[in-house]
Subunit: 254 residues, 4 copies
Amino acid sequence: MTNTQVTLVQIDNYGPWTVTPEPRREADLQTLQSRLYADISQFVGNRGGYTFFTRFDNIIAVTNGLSMDDHELLQESVGNRYPVTLSLGVATGTTPVQALADATALIQEAGSAQDKSRRECLDGRTIEDGHRTTDDVQIAHFDVIDATGNYTDELNAFDTFIEIEQGYAELMRHMRHAHDSLSFFVGGDNIIVTCPDLTEGDYEDAIFHVEEAVGVELQVGVGRGENAHDAGFDAKHALETCRADGTRVELEWK
Amino acid sequence: MTNTQVTLVQIDNYGPWTVTPEPRREADLQTLQSRLYADISQFVGNRGGYTFFTRFDNIIAVTNGLSMDDHELLQESVGNRYPVTLSLGVATGTTPVQALADATALIQEAGSAQDKSRRECLDGRTIEDGHRTTDDVQIAHFDVIDATGNYTDELNAFDTFIEIEQGYAELMRHMRHAHDSLSFFVGGDNIIVTCPDLTEGDYEDAIFHVEEAVGVELQVGVGRGENAHDAGFDAKHALETCRADGTRVELEWK
Amino acid sequence: MTNTQVTLVQIDNYGPWTVTPEPRREADLQTLQSRLYADISQFVGNRGGYTFFTRFDNIIAVTNGLSMDDHELLQESVGNRYPVTLSLGVATGTTPVQALADATALIQEAGSAQDKSRRECLDGRTIEDGHRTTDDVQIAHFDVIDATGNYTDELNAFDTFIEIEQGYAELMRHMRHAHDSLSFFVGGDNIIVTCPDLTEGDYEDAIFHVEEAVGVELQVGVGRGENAHDAGFDAKHALETCRADGTRVELEWK
Amino acid sequence: MTNTQVTLVQIDNYGPWTVTPEPRREADLQTLQSRLYADISQFVGNRGGYTFFTRFDNIIAVTNGLSMDDHELLQESVGNRYPVTLSLGVATGTTPVQALADATALIQEAGSAQDKSRRECLDGRTIEDGHRTTDDVQIAHFDVIDATGNYTDELNAFDTFIEIEQGYAELMRHMRHAHDSLSFFVGGDNIIVTCPDLTEGDYEDAIFHVEEAVGVELQVGVGRGENAHDAGFDAKHALETCRADGTRVELEWK
């Protein structure tokens, strides 16, 4: 049974900061957001977690393996090197959505995202070392079948992008509502989803649903592990099996 | 009349590189993609352009003000500092979609995105200095009305994200098909769109369409200029007017 | 008694890479070197260590608290994100110079710095958790007394720089030959030294020696700890005491 | 006749910032300093200039080709993305030291480096486009003859570093006092010097002086150009000639 530890990272008072005293150059905001995300990805990733850029001012991470001290260090390091600060909420749950909802509530209770007095909140709980198992995290790595042949080398780059966005928008809603899962576009034609215990049939349904709804053909590799990196790396290997064998769903532990 | 210069930046042979000789750590790919995007954003932004992360292996930029020599320098600098290389296609057009389609075709003609012998292509044309006008670029900056009050402080962070994604997916298709425009989510609740000459009515229609289709309420500030930064900065100011006055559409040049 | 764990990080085949097939833009080499150093500083620093840029192609770190698995992860992450790779040698010793000499020998035995077939060597040993003590690391943080008043606000910026460089060059040789210590300029007017067990008298001698030799007046705060961060943070506080009280040498544990 | 444009970049109020309200983690300061330097190196380098990290809180650049508007943009961009701000002084002179002295004076007149009310000063003048010539900048690129064979593969990494530091300290003082030149260690065994019009004999003297004083054997390639990149790239090629032919001094324009 999965036990996903989810962290919500929210930049404090970001909206007002971006326009005070005047609006800031957009290219600079994009650079700041991307580099901040990259730093969080390295910090969390080096401890076995996965970080998803999400909305950039609100970033969601699967943090099994990180302690509250680790979260505090991340917060301190960012506070030392950026013109903004972070609030962090950490929670665990039998489904990723439940954990994320609890993590969000911790931050919301501390104060509004645009409350200038709410700074560097840190609240929540992590899974104690003795209670971690290799079933805690289930990661599904979807990609579009032959995106390069069907889209990238054929359509203009924006129409290719639209197809992939529509596929993502459909999958994200389906996986959240049907399976309490959190889906994230990670670049190219790849979507990574953190799931509770799902079956091969659940993944086949998801693929069928997206193909029916928007005409985008997905395949998926799924892995399990004690943390997101272990689960996700197995999922990547399972996806290679899909590519090699032409299958649509591969579970690495079968 | 707009004359948008669009550059498509495509990482050479990226898909195969990410899994050769073995799949690479996901957190490292995310960090690499984000930092590469941030560097391109700085380079282009420091010359008055706007860069949108799009799919990270395919990045779209509005590059009025950049010459072919500038593009060549960007390509050389990235080649010196990253384990991947870039191909660049540059084109102009009376609509952004037309320019982007031509830019894409230049790269597609050079070779597949996964053709390992296609490296560092650079092709296209820029607008000569003497032919540039302050009408060349039209930028519309949309955001969700009171996203913080309606979503961020109320829903869990993923459900907020779903709302914003659905709003974006709807707007992107509408603006592309009805108005040959290119729309990009840029973080938070913000979407920046590069447009041809559109009217106040066109923007009202777009907002109405998105509200009807998915229930997300947008407002928009629009600016014009010789380059994306000038147009976009005016658009940001127009958006501040929406916030202050409670209006839905503001054109900075009225 | 100190037990310093030192890691030598050496970029593989860097000299040839910088000029093959042609020399590369100097500004790009500087950017690459600095960002690679910054990443190593974050990775090591987040585990309680200190990293010194040294010669940029050869970087020295005090890595008490990092395991061989941590070193392997650092190597893998850099290999995924940079156009160069790293070799790492790790050793411990009762003096920092001894540890650094052993770490260097491990890499030299694997192959020349310009041997293109020597890639990603990883060799050495770390201190086992059960054997670590709060005396393992001694860090001395020197700075120039009132550098701002005496130099920065008075001389041209290069003549200020010369004074500080001469002070550093003198201190580094003295501390290495008299005390088997490793000294590193870390910016501004600051020099951080990793030492074996030294006495207040040893530090007074060092300060006297530098003042006699080149006329630069230093003060120093010293700390001890289980890792470089703990020792160094105490040293920073001790230095604040020097500034507040006008003393030349402060040991935080007295 | 050279006409070097030099910019002094000074972080505002940095010393106090690093210890307010408490000292900050050293690894974070190192990361911040290095990444800020890397960004300045890219900005200046993309316009044909060279940037030297110097003391990190005081950075010296050769900026022929950059206008005052360029300097203002750099200042604005850093202010948007870092927790610190920059003051910039720009000057030109027939010798680099003269230009640097004037640039320094501009900032000193605006206020102390630790005056918390002195923020984002920008003062000075650049060379007008019509007055630039291909003789404006002379760059000399020194390196240690066979550093790898003589030092890196033979001595421990700190003793190698000491040798190179001593060579640098000697060369920097000689070139400043005898030739009004600014010398900077740039990593590895490389030192780049920005000079006025010097002769082959001047470079031979410098090499002889360093060898006599500290026993370090240097070779040098020299180039001239309208900006630092042009001059420096020629210098790199001249240095390759030294390596190939075994000569000690090569001037690229002979």
